[in-house]
Symmetry: C2
Subunit: 413 residues, 2 copies
């Protein structure tokens, strides 16, 4: 089989993670090795960079800096939240993409992101098929939220989970130094899926974790929460509660909405945040004076200094394998992980149709949440623990991380 000859372009999309740049390193290093790939472009701010013809020639970068991407958090090429319209409604963007692809002879398109990004990837793929422009399109999963369908887990999740579990253990120690009562409410990211909040149960598994964990998978009942918190507070004076930013009541009203009206982000999702501080003020009024709300905030998705080696390696492999599969002729897929049976953790790569994965969310299964709806079962621990194994951290200079510095030389034609 003669290989498809042409340039490749790679884009990062959606919220950054600690390891999305590891996938970038995988794509770039592998693509630079492939003879049939004539140029390796990195799109500035994802799909927007392609539309605006703004992308970088990755062959101009120092190989050491590309290597450093493995331990550099966030999206080094710049990310984007840009929703492509359906091609049936408005073809403008697609025509422009085709024009740019043709101009640079781009025959490989790699897109790294979460649900919305896989939707973008899918739309681009289907359009190129429709107009008969030969182009291999591969999605590479990325999301701390771990909510992509069809893959055992997503690159980005393991590192965020490791950060959350470790920090929860540390806060656990801090939050019980006084012999006075203390209620601590931790707020964890995850709009609709509770995977990240569930990671606090790893700290609980180690004996240094929350007493109560509330995921967005189940309706949040304020009275039940107050009753459970109060019971533990009365028993031992210290309570740690972990709560997802996305918890909502029986009527679908976000806890965060109780305090403030909501803005909407570009995708029409509610812009969340503040559940912990709202609950803290309610707890302060109803149960105890000493209450502290802690938001892990952006820290949980950019803490490269505490990344999971397993996660970094898998993120790299996802990028690398996307290139290899595309070169072999595969297209219209997302690279995914499949866990092998057996006592040892091992994940193999499999391919999922983009159509199947786009916009489908994977939530924490009900059977992994305890009966009371305020904690996780051992099955979850068994699932998550292998994903946080191994240490990855950037090299240090002056005791501080040395992150990649890209030259970002614009490609020209």
């Amino acid at each position: 089989m003669s290989k498809l000859k042409g340039a490749c372009i790679f884009g990062q999309s959606g919220g950054p993670t600690s390891v999305i740049n590891a996938s970038a390193a995988g794509v770039i290093q592998e693509a630079l090795k492939q003879d049939c790939i004539t140029a390796v472009y990195g799109a500035a701010h994802g799909i927007k960079g392609i539309l605006e013809e703004k992308f970088y020639d990755m062959s101009k970068e120092d190989p050491y800096e590309i290597e450093l991407l493995k331990t550099t958090p966030s999206s080094a090429l710049g990310s984007v939240r840009y929703k492509l319209k359906n091609a049936e409604e408005d073809e403008t963007d697609y025509k422009r993409l085709l024009e740019v692809f043709k101009k640079y002879n781009i025959r490989y398109f790699f897109y790294n992101g979460g649900n919305d990004s896989m939707d973008t990837c899918n739309k681009v793929s289907k359009y190129m098929q429709k107009v008969g422009y030969e182009c291999r399109v591969m999605g590479i999963p990325k999301t701390i939220d771990n909510d992509l369908w069809g893959t055992d887990h997503c690159p980005g999740y393991g590192s965020a989970a490791k950060y959350i579990a470790t920090s929860t253990m540390e806060v656990y120690h801090d939050a019980r130094v006084y012999d006075t009562g203390m209620i601590t409410i931790l707020e964890v990211m995850g709009r609709n899926a509770g995977w990240l909040t569930a990671a606090t149960s790893l700290a609980a598994y180690k004996g240094n974790g929350p007493d109560l964990i509330y995921l967005p998978e189940l309706p949040f009942n304020l009275d039940k929460f107050l009753e459970e918190t109060n019971r533990i507070y009365k028993e031992n004076g210290k309570v740690i509660v972990a709560v997802s930013e996305g918890v909502k009541d029986e009527n679908g009203k976000y806890v965060a909405e109780m305090g403030a009206s909501l803005a909407k982000d570009a995708f029409g999702h509610a812009q969340l945040g503040g559940a912990a501080s709202i609950l803290a003020s309610i707890v302060k009024e109803k149960i105890a004076n000493k209450v502290r709300a802690i938001e892990f905030s952006l820290l949980q998705r950019c803490a490269a200094h505490l990344a999971s080696k397993t996660d970094v390696d898998e993120a790299y492999m996802a990028g690398q394998m996307a290139v290899r599969y595309a070169v072999e002729g595969k297209t219209d897929y997302m690279v995914a992980f499949e866990r092998s049976e057996g006592p040892e953790y091992k994940c193999n790569i499999k391919l999922i149709n983009l159509t199947d994965v786009a916009n489908t969310e994977k939530k924490v299964p009900r059977e992994w949440i305890n009966k009371e709806g305020n904690g996780l079962t051992e099955d979850f621990v068994k699932y998550a623990l292998p994903l946080i194994q191994g240490e990855s951290r950037p090299p240090l200079e002056d005791g501080l991380p040395r992150f990649a510095r890209l030259k970002k030389v614009l490609a020209t034609k």
Copy 2:
């Protein structure tokens, strides 16, 4: 010289740090070695544990667990915020302390804490002198705030500074992935002294830090802050601001007070928090819609996974040397650090009179703050950088920290 024979008691006081337990390890391991020290007690919740005759026999602990204290955050013995009245006003507590000291033949008292704890230490020391009870009293410095007078720096500061600088660098990367405007406001601990907030300038020194840094040492002018933020926002669309929780305006009104009324903690200090979110809401109204407030919160004082080795070693040494000096006959001092002259960083131990150190605060000198009052000079970087060098982290089990587990066997008589 014949050495004073008797038991020693050690207490932890005030807000915990990542390395206060390293000082505990230093005291305990050294005291267990000294022949003249007949028993090594660890007070539960500091001075309160002594008053209540609740302390642990440290010889009953597994030596491995004592060793693990070096990498275990927070106060393993429990901490306290308890202010001793002046002995002239009310002798009750002092008489009780004397009674307990006599009962257990306690001849060595080591107290680990910040300003308020050194005040406690000083009062106990002076009382024991007054009543003629021979007891060696040594203060061991501890505070992430770095505001103790008479010492080059305080154990706890270096690790908190390393965490803050590293996390700021990571957030810097995260906060500029989109090609849209974004203002990020970081809130750092430090009630009256800006040492911790200043540590964000180490990230700026590495090119990944805040554009503006506001310390509590200078009056905070809201209009100036808005003008400076707006100017940078207009220039490059991205602004990172670091602000101390304790910033206050020309009239001494805390920024945090603008939004909420203040509770008072046991020492009569204002209970702070919320400066960043209040500033964020003002910025949102006046400058830009995309604003994020991030509080480092408790995480900055308990992140043992990112401690400074230099800090851990010095904290250990402070505890160890307190014991050695006391055994040699010194009393009524706080162990302090003195930096050697020369290009290589080196700190020696010196002793400071407790009377001099108690309740005196050391602030960031005006000449280390830039002329505009919104950043730090290179002199600060030169001062702080050596303090964050070297890596210390707990051993891991299942990819998560293995912290010390003390048996806490109550001492009896």
